[in-house]
């Protein structure tokens, strides 16, 4: 039996190769269907919009006092709003708040749901029972109505707060699913083996359990982003959230309730622009979710 001492670099380069292979695999998965590429492109577009969008425009969007609710034209592809501000500019600059909330919510929802689900599934026993009752409660409380009630108590002053509340309301589903996944993974030999080897719990959860659930969690994350965007835009639409100068939901609200977009076609572009943005975002995320399973599954990634 030959024992060759490997220099430490070997491990590092092995990891680098692994990473390279991973990205190559991702590329392969994406290339398999053109629709996935489109999805990634759309998501990237929104990401860029959220990050750089507001920088493209002056802090105070220009208004044209003589072009209130102007129809679509070359200079205003989606017309203007009640103040004569370009609707496209509103959609672009408004994306940051919307996406940021979406992201914050998704992170909180998924983190909380995963943590609760993992803990309950991993610990079992009374902690499990308690957490699951809590989850049941969370699921039994109707979210939207509660949000309506909460919005009168809580001032959602930042996207983060918004995300926190939406996240606190929405973790139940993920927790339950993660728990059942954890329970089934626990039965798999490799988790038991890790415990038998005396590996620390952090390792078992962080390195063995979580990666196995990664596609599931990532998918939920994306879905949570959309869910949060919808809940939030919806609440703005209902008018229960504090006014934000450029926000898709506020646009919907003003288009319908003060522009009469559902009554006359004049304000229709003002209504349709955010609706189309939401549709496009959904499409992008749906297409990316489609590829998620294959990206995280080494077997599917390689072939």
């Amino acid at each position: 039996m030959t024992v060759t001492a490997l220099p430490g670099a070997a491990g590092r380069s092995r990891r680098a190769t692994l990473r390279r292979n991973f990205w190559r695999g991702v590329w392969r998965v994406l290339r398999r269907k053109p629709s996935r590429m489109a999805g990634v492109a759309i998501c990237a577009l929104f990401a860029v919009m959220g990050v750089a969008g507001p920088l493209l425009y002056p802090a105070h969007l220009p208004r044209d006092d003589d072009a209130l609710y102007a129809p679509p034209s070359l200079s205003h592809p989606f017309g203007t709003d009640f103040e004569g501000t370009d609707v496209l500019a509103l959609v672009v600059t408004g994306s940051r708040y919307v996406l940021l909330t979406g992201l914050a919510t998704a992170v909180i929802t998924v983190a909380l749901g995963t943590a609760v689900g993992l803990f309950a599934g991993f610990r079992r026993g009374w902690q499990d029972t308690l957490l699951m009752r809590l989850t049941d409660l969370n699921l039994a409380i109707p979210g939207l109505p509660l949000l309506l009630v909460l919005s009168t108590v809580w001032k959602f002053e930042s996207p983060l707060e918004m995300g926190l509340v939406l996240g606190l309301l929405g973790w139940g589903g993920i927790a339950r699913a993660v728990r059942s996944q954890t329970l089934s993974l626990r039965e798999r030999g490799f988790i038991e083996a890790a415990r038998g080897l005396g590996l620390p719990t952090t390792h078992i959860i962080g390195r063995e359990l979580l990666p196995s659930m990664a596609p599931y969690i990532a998918m939920n994350m994306l879905i949570a982003v959309t869910g949060a965007v919808y809940a939030q835009v919806g609440l703005f639409f209902l008018g229960v959230l504090p006014f934000e100068a450029n926000n898709w939901g506020v646009m919907l609200n003003l288009a319908v309730f003060s522009g009469g977009a559902l009554t006359t076609p004049a304000a229709l572009p003002y209504l349709l622009a955010p609706l189309l943005a939401i549709l496009l975002l959904t499409l992008g995320i749906v297409l990316v979710v489609d590829a998620m399973d294959e990206i995280f599954n080494p077997r599917l990634r390689e072939e």
């Binding site: 008018g239 504090p242 319908v256 522009g259 009469g260």
Partner: protein
């Protein structure tokens, strides 16, 4: 549905309208004492008389169940003469007893004319039936100029339906409640107010109306009324049926109007584009008239820097009211000519030439800058800061559910931004929340209704009343410090007025209740000047009573600026106006 409506309308004449004051609630009882009851003023709900829409005089009425009335010269006693032909929809005549029972029921509800507290200004002290068609009501010690108006607006219900609600000995109990100062009086008061719930919840099986219509059916979407053959002026009534459509938001009314479904819609705010479509609908007409309400942006003067009148003036100079109105209420409002606390039309009547002397606060950045400098504010890198150099951010609060206010606030903030003042719009989730936070003094600037005419007391009580610290307690005026008792405006208790010296505007306002017309005119002049100079609020726009009618089925609607415009089309019919269009 529009198509279905016209189908059904082929056989009978259905007049379609909406009730501007409440939403239809199919669960609510057919009971005018219930705030959402299925009783529609002017159709199946009748008062003694209908108030005219006069800019300055609250005591002008069209006769209704009261054919006429006489008031003693000192205003203490009113004799009411009922319509001799008036009958309920079950054929029984309308009598003085009906009026007395109605007044008795009104006592259980509380109110100005029928307050249990005998010291309340304008409370009725005695009710006496003179004969079957005549009744006399006497005012208590604290006289009020609004007594007649309040009395004549009394809603009349049939004694044979509602009479049982008043327990035996009710009138004796009332006397005790009004006059006994001891525990017996308190007990009697409790007995009477204790009836309130029962009265409100009272739900007659079917409608018994003395109006031109009687309720046939109500569902969550609409109420249907049919003609009351016993109505005293039945011949004047054109339509066979009236359909009152429900709505939850203005946009629904717009849809109804565009599709030509409504024969009349009372005051509704409408965006310009929608207005164009409505005007385009066949037979559609817009009537405008006086509406004694104005919107203002009010300051919380206990918050810095709004305690400084220069800052308030500077902001007034920077708000382009023309533009704001164009954006927020293009059809429903006219930009306020100045800030007087009074709707411009009433203001001209009250102030005459004095109106022109008020500072108009036209958009003027230069004056604004001067005022800001006078207030010690500093200009740094093109942005105004507080005197100590800390940033200044104007936070404009509005309730999220009022989209015209939201648009206005947004427009104001954009305009202020253009002139170097950082401004944001903050919304409250709903009106309840908005009002309670406003009352708690949490806002710097908030939207606030003012100029509620025609009674001058009502006008100025919005600026120098409870919201600004002056409260009426048992007929006595007190002043509470800012932040307590709903005093959120936080203005000073007294102000220097040129030519008047130090005055207490709240005290002046309360005096409007009972002084002579001449004195009223003088006080209004002073208060308008205070409002204009001290600027507790910046008047933004005066509402216009924009009504919509459709003349393709009915004609004879009131003209622009008619004194009838704030009354429902049911009243118009009573007055013999609405006629079926002849083919």
């Amino acid at each position: 549905g529009g198509a279905a409506a016209t189908d059904a309308g082929a056989e009978v004449d259905v007049y379609t309208t909406i009730d501007g004051t409440k939403q239809i609630n199919a669960s609510a009882p057919i009971n005018p004492f219930n705030p959402v009851g299925s009783v529609f003023t002017g159709y199946n709900g009748m008062a003694l008389a209908w108030a005219r829409n006069h800019p300055t005089d609250p005591n002008r009425f069209y006769p209704a169940l009261a054919r006429s009335w006489t008031q003693s010269p000192d205003g203490a006693q009113v004799d009411i003469h009922l319509q001799p032909e008036a009958r309920w929809s079950d054929g029984k005549p309308v009598t003085s007893e009906d009026v007395r029972v109605s007044i008795g029921l009104a006592y259980t509800q509380g109110g100005t004319a029928y307050a249990l507290d005998p010291k309340a200004a304008g409370a009725a002290a005695d009710v006496r039936v003179l004969d079957a068609k005549t009744i006399r009501v006497t005012q208590g010690a604290n006289r009020s100029a609004a007594f007649l108006a309040n009395l004549l607006s009394t809603v009349v219900v049939p004694a044979h339906v509602y009479g049982a609600l008043l327990p035996r000995g009710f009138w004796d109990t009332l006397k005790v409640a009004q006059h006994d100062r001891g525990p017996a009086g308190e007990r009697a008061k409790a007995v009477i107010t204790g009836l309130a719930d029962k009265v409100i919840a009272f739900s007659p099986e079917q409608d018994v109306s003395a109006g031109p219509f009687v309720l046939e059916r109500v569902n969550p979407g609409a109420a249907l009324l049919r003609r009351n053959p016993y109505f005293y002026n039945s011949r004047a009534i054109g339509p066979d049926k009236v359909k009152v459509l429900n709505y939850t938001g203005n946009e629904q009314i717009w849809n109804y109007l565009i599709s030509g479904q409504l024969d009349n819609a009372p005051f509704t705010s409408v965006p310009a584009a929608v207005m164009e479509r409505i005007r385009g609908a066949r037979g559609s007409q817009v009537i405008t008239g006086y509406s004694p309400v104005a919107t203002s942006l009010a300051f919380n003067q206990s918050h810095k820097p709004y305690d400084n009148v220069h800052v308030r003036r500077a902001l007034a100079y920077l708000i382009d009211r023309e533009q704001v109105t164009r954006i927020a209420a293009p059809e429903g409002g006219t930009p306020a000519a100045t800030t007087s606390g009074i709707h411009a039309k009433a203001a001209r009547a009250w102030l005459g030439d004095g109106f022109a002397e008020l500072e108009p606060y036209r958009l003027d950045p230069a004056k604004a800058a001067a005022e800001l400098r006078a207030a010690g504010m500093k200009l740094r890198d093109g942005r105004w800061t507080m005197p100590d150099g800390s940033p200044w951010k104007v936070e404009i609060h509005v309730p999220a559910s009022f989209s015209d206010w939201v648009s206005a606030a947004k427009s104001i903030s954009s305009g202020l931004g253009d002139h170097g003042i950082d401004a944001t719009v903050l919304t409250a989730a709903d009106y309840s929340l908005y009002l309670s936070e406003l009352a708690k003094g949490e806002y710097d600037l908030g939207f606030w209704l003012i100029g509620l005419g025609p009674s001058p007391y009502n006008i100025f009580q919005r600026l120098f009343g409870q919201a600004n610290g002056w409260q009426m307690f048992g007929g006595r005026l007190t002043h509470v410090p800012p932040g307590t008792g709903g005093n959120w405006m936080g203005g000073p208790r007294t102000v220097e007025v040129a030519g008047e010296g130090l005055v207490d505007p709240g005290e002046l306002t309360s005096r409007l209740n009972y002084v002579s017309p001449g004195e009223q005119r003088r006080i209004v002049g002073v208060l308008a000047r205070i409002a204009n100079e001290q600027l507790p609020a910046v008047q933004l726009w005066d509402y216009v009573n924009t009504q919509f009618v459709n003349t393709s089925r009915y004609t004879g609607f009131p003209p622009d600026d008619s004194e009838m415009l704030r009354l429902s089309s049911g009243v118009w019919m009573q007055l013999g106006m609405i006629r079926k269009r002849q083919p």
